[in-house]
Assembly symmetry: C2
Homo-oligomer: 530 residues x 2
Amino acid sequence: MEQRQRLFVCVLLALCATQSANGGNILVWYTEGSHWINMKPVLETLVDRGHQVTVLTPAASLFMNASASSGFRYEPFDVSVSLEDMEKFLEDFLHFSMYEMDHLSYLQIYIRFINMMKNDLHNSLRYLDGVLKSETIMKKLKEGNYDVLLADPIYPGSDLTAEILGIPLVFSLRFSLANNWERKCGQLPSPPSFVPSAMSKLTDKMDFSERVWNFVFYFLHDILLNSIYWHDVDQYYSEVKGTPTSACETMGRADIWLMRTYWDFDFPRPFLPNFKYVGGMHCRPAKPLPEDMEEVVQSSGDAGIVVFTLGSMIKNITREKGNMIASALAQIPQKVLWRYSGEKPETLGANTRLYNWIPQNDLLGHPKTRAFITHGGTNGIYEAIYHGVPMVGIPMFADQPGNMVHMKAKGAAVTVDLNFMTTEDLRDAINTVINEKSYKESAMRLSSMHHDRPMSALDEAIFWIEFTMRNNGAKHLRVQAHELTWYQYHSLDVLAFLLTVVLLITLLCVKACSLCLRRCCGWKGKTKTE
Amino acid sequence: MEQRQRLFVCVLLALCATQSANGGNILVWYTEGSHWINMKPVLETLVDRGHQVTVLTPAASLFMNASASSGFRYEPFDVSVSLEDMEKFLEDFLHFSMYEMDHLSYLQIYIRFINMMKNDLHNSLRYLDGVLKSETIMKKLKEGNYDVLLADPIYPGSDLTAEILGIPLVFSLRFSLANNWERKCGQLPSPPSFVPSAMSKLTDKMDFSERVWNFVFYFLHDILLNSIYWHDVDQYYSEVKGTPTSACETMGRADIWLMRTYWDFDFPRPFLPNFKYVGGMHCRPAKPLPEDMEEVVQSSGDAGIVVFTLGSMIKNITREKGNMIASALAQIPQKVLWRYSGEKPETLGANTRLYNWIPQNDLLGHPKTRAFITHGGTNGIYEAIYHGVPMVGIPMFADQPGNMVHMKAKGAAVTVDLNFMTTEDLRDAINTVINEKSYKESAMRLSSMHHDRPMSALDEAIFWIEFTMRNNGAKHLRVQAHELTWYQYHSLDVLAFLLTVVLLITLLCVKACSLCLRRCCGWKGKTKTE
């Protein structure tokens, strides 16, 4: 008898697990750079769990390599943008972010930024042509019978493709400009009074002027995105569908939003049942280092090592900066492992080794690691949090400056400015995070927060991807807010109605009173007297 | 080397698990009725996990039995309210809810309701006297070195006690009137446009008039609670602390809010990182039935059984109602197991058995169970969801009518009205949920949603209670909104400032333009011309 009851629960649980046992069919949207670096370990885990993973891969990709051996299948498609165009665009963007911004006025920065955004969107839509306007690819995708589309929405079009294929959609997102996509399309509540806009470099503790700035930041970027992003994407979607289409609404149909932060890195904020905070889902326990690297690390003695990288995008800096940095590194007692492909700086100290590539996560997880010098990308920061390593930030572009503001506010980092720092600034910053106990303690506290959750970030991400597959979506997690206009959402129509009613009642009362007074007491209104 | 890395992660995980291994020291606030029934299985699990659980138990308690054998320790305290007073109050309340409401005008209902609320609060504060104003009890609690206070805030004072003892606080809450506690004190965002107020009997899909009603419902109840609840509790807290104290602010210091719903029962809504939705945490797989009961169940054949209870509060109904209900039950092909302690109805059919008590969860988990006739309490509804059983609701008071609206909206229930239903209404309702496939399908869909989550509701609740103990709170999940005034939260000060700036700039521009025109073109303003 008891067995029978247990059987029922077991059958339910088995039903839940069926999909992962049978293996689902997952389509992955193309992405680039650190977004791809973040996505890959998740896909590898999905493959390990028996799913078939197919990755749409553009011919011109800087990071996705369709010929690379891996457990997942690549579905290459042609694009009318050349690899050289992409490299040129990236180079221009990095040069602007790293060196030009400090010499330009705010207006000039804005104009350059807008032009780059337009250029980027133009390229993105040409990529999208390669999928949506290619009969061969669309036929293949339709015949693929996919259970879910997993996409980082940094490249537009995944939502429309999922809609055309009639399959559920899971987003993996770090951030959008001023949280526009999450707020406007995902209906994520973001009160400007305590939810700092992405890229605003604010924390959740804002004084009045900061709250004004945050409000204006949201407002202006909404206008900006409406005019230079949504306008074009709406037009593209409408053209493809042959009917007026709101791209933001299409985006809002995503079943699950896997947000690549958590309350270790981010500030607590309101969210929704279909938003899952899985920051650090790419992190793993450290693996052993290559033998020669382990030797270098061990030779550091008690002083330990410092890990230094400016991320996957930056392979080179100016000779002058290189020398300045190398000179600072030469002055610290730690050994430094520096990922750097540029010309060897003349001031390079005996304690510093240059590498074309480093196993960053494994190095950060090494017990001899004392600090991490980083450009402030979320992937690297999360690896530092995972392993409890304090940071020195040299942020450059996108979310990096804001990310370092988070880490600084949480006491786990010191930040320096690439364009203004001196050798002494960098040296002192490294010494500070290593020698002042509070930085290590804060890093360990964040690490503890990161690990002390009901389920690891990776497991949670995998759970919700598989959930979406086995339930053909996640409709019961979708708020009704999606069906409301902005004024309905904020009850402005209700307020207007109630105010009108109150006003009318007041008017009627006043009229009635004056009438009564006039009739009963012979009192006459002022107007009559006049 | 690899071992070393693994060791680090293991140490972190071990650190997280230490508390549960060592066993924490948990103080539990007194509660009553279904709230206690819900709390007990959680406490039992905590005991099983090696924690010491101490339950504050008032001398006058209808449900908590300090002499009952269980794994937890009871800490009894004296109260100046007698058990008879409590029973009288409950009886009046039930009579009012079940029979009087339909004969009274809205105004009369409201006046009675307010009087009962006042009476209830008065009693609650006399209970609180038994703890906070008893030197013996407070000394014992201080010496108890508790790691956390776990409380259903239905009885006020747990937050103040946690503050005085200097220990973290975990709430377990089903709902508060118009969500006032969660919204106002917990900072839970609840846009009236799609988050129906508790007890409003609305769903998340509201037309304009319903949105107006929901808005007004929130608004009026906030005023009501301010005047008859918060005013008195503020005064009490201020008196105890000797300094002006906001009870709502004190409540807002809770580390974790365990909300006893989930998206199976509730409609998706915005929430916060320290709000955990663990509805159904009291449910367990069904255990075998007592032998004689199993015989009755098995004798039902293919038709199966119907489980019927009006909850822990209702032991009796009028003879007339009893006969009407029994007559309906006699007309269905199923066997009925009815929990009923009143006089045996004359119309009782051969298919219906009366019981003073039934193992509700075990019966609902029985494969022969076809339907559940319920008063619509959340505990029972969750047991039905857990086991996938469609429902017939006969809701009476508190959240019950609203709960049944949820279940009806989700397609798993039909509702009848105790005061207006006929024998045929009840019979048809039972036949409908049993014979129309969609009800069973909806119940199974809800059951699947309930079970298909990263962690069971009970495990999640236990995790966050233990988390709060081992981290001495959960500060990193607390939104900054707690530090803002209501106008700051809604950025009204920022809006006022920005509007003023825009107005000033516009004025200056107009002035400047008119000045320019006058000077350059000899144009003269209208005022001058006149």
